[in-house]
Symmetry: C2
Subunit: 338 residues, 2 copies
């Protein structure tokens, strides 16, 4: 329909030429709140439409000294809760007119590279929900004055903005659910890989047992917080055969693997053994498991994270500290004693 520029993108100068105005007028047309005559603006808009012009955000960012890019450092996307969170955060960022810049990491290794990238691109802020130890990221972000929010990484305490589930309540609710199911002797199943969040959940769980008249008779472990890890923990459980009537699995994936392993060996759930998980991933609600678990509200985490980030961006000296997101118990069949 219109003359196509053969090479390179169309710039504000091209639009200016076609509209018969100066480049400044074009720039002002696309700048919120700038002073342009309505008639000029319309002519510029028309020319821009004809040429398919779009403001070059790289150039704009360079001039304005802020990119509206947000580094999204994330590991273990195969954990469905993580994937859900990334999806949710991505949408929320876009809705707030920011752009998510994805930085996938493995445990620890690529972290340095991810930080490097963020600084190379002058991100306006960063969200870290990675298993990588956040100290390095936090230090580097602080040094370069990049607003940072950690999600579910409580170990940094209040020194950086931190949004985290209420791990204390998570452990407490799990203990109460087992007590409610009539358990007396319980087992803790968890991953071997270090995780501060998991540690806190487990500590809280253990701390509330005496008050409820429960006794912790064993702790079994699987390597990671996934299905295979749950199977391992299940095998460890059967190997030790502790006299127990309830198990707290500090993570849902682990719980599902644990359940499957025990059921295949003939253990009846919930009749012989009640199980409580943590996270409420979609799979926990499936008929085959119907797992009682502590729900981690992803949408609330997202909103709080965005809120904290925007606060930090608006005021470079703001220290939102720790935001705790409430969790609640989802009662299902795995603790339903007749």
């Amino acid at each position: 329909m219109s003359a196509e520029k053969p090479r390179g993108a169309v710039t504000a100068s091209d639009v200016a030429q076609l509209a018969g105005v100066s480049r400044s007028a074009v720039s002002r047309t696309f700048t919120e709140g700038a002073s342009v005559a309505p008639e000029t603006r319309e002519r510029v808009m028309q020319a821009a439409r004809d040429l398919g012009y779009r403001v070059n955000f790289l150039a704009r960012s360079l001039k304005e000294q802020r990119t509206r890019l947000i580094g999204l450092v994330v590991s273990d996307m195969d954990h469905s809760l993580r994937a859900h969170l990334v999806d949710s955060l991505g949408r929320a960022l876009v809705a707030a007119d920011y752009r998510p810049f994805l930085l996938p990491t493995s445990r620890g290794e690529d972290t340095r590279r991810a930080i490097d990238m963020m600084l190379h691109y002058n991100v306006s802020g960063a969200i870290v929900t990675s298993d990588a130890s956040p100290q390095a990221i936090a230090a580097e972000c602080a040094r370069h004055d990049v607003p940072l929010v950690l999600v579910n990484k409580a170990e940094m305490g209040g020194r950086v903005a931190n949004v985290t589930q209420d791990t204390e309540a998570a452990g407490r609710l799990a203990a109460e659910a087992l007590a409610e199911a009539g358990c007396r002797r319980v087992v803790l199943a968890r991953q071997r890989l270090p995780s501060y969040t998991i540690d806190l959940r487990c500590d809280a769980f253990a701390a509330h047992l005496p008050r409820l008249g429960l006794k912790l008779v064993a702790t079994v472990e699987g390597e990671a917080q996934n299905y295979a890890g749950g199977q391992e923990a299940g095998a460890a459980f059967l190997a030790r055969r502790p006299e127990a009537d309830g198990v707290y699995c500090a993570n849902d994936f682990l719980a599902l693997g644990f359940m499957d392993h025990l059921r295949r060996r003939g253990v009846s759930i919930p009749d012989e053994l009640a199980i409580v998980g943590c996270d409420d991933i979609a799979e926990a609600g499936w008929d085959a498991y119907d797992l009682t678990t502590v729900r981690q509200p992803v949408e609330a985490l997202t909103q709080a994270t965005l809120q904290a980030l925007l606060t930090c961006i608006a005021d470079r000296n703001a220290r939102p500290g720790l935001t705790t997101i409430g969790v609640d118990l989802v009662r299902r069949n795995s603790t339903a004693r007749s």
Copy 2:
């Protein structure tokens, strides 16, 4: 340790000043293959280290006219295969020195916005693995000369680069698996929402039935390709009670919901009914399901996608057309007839 710049990032000029050289020398130090004396380079590197300098990629991109940003347009990240793919693609891109720019979309709606963003940022290329109809994206990318690869979106044929699973083989393998299990009368379970990939799978499945002596006695549907959709399809199946001994579910999530629904109503799998799924998501391998399914190799998809993208970027006129990724059957318990 070193003087900290109070405001703003440290630039090449700062480094130049500290090292006692011109800004050009700094630029050349960080440019591959530029001519710098070893001693000068070392002095520059030292100064850069002291100041924590990093090349500003926005400025570099502006000058070099390519950003090395890749738009990653993706919907339905809560589908675990999608999440896995995004993770895998993200890592592959970073490994190839590109940067993934995440553009989450819902079905169709945000697509225009996603395209807009990509063009605003002058992305070097785009990967689309979204349920949104890709025509709009393809047209706009072509107009602005942005290399584009569609993943599992066969409907554009060979006109744009396209990496897709072998849907024909997927359907065929599923049919063969049911035949192998001794089935004679089979049912097709699928989603109601339109999807070209799913259509192709189902067509291929149906096409191979006669050759194998199988008869398609019914088609049942659920709304979406998820667990709930499978439950719906299961309910539809029981409502019609077709005389059937095998079911092909065109998607694993659907298959799992279908299995759970039928089992809860007392149907025995695989004895009364054999089930075959498609995708081989992690959950399909769990003990509770142990689903025979057609594996979609994510890693191969990723590599082929990256390959096609790099080809398009290297040669703007290249038309890699359609790349088909082989699939294979994973035999498990859901088709194991005694």
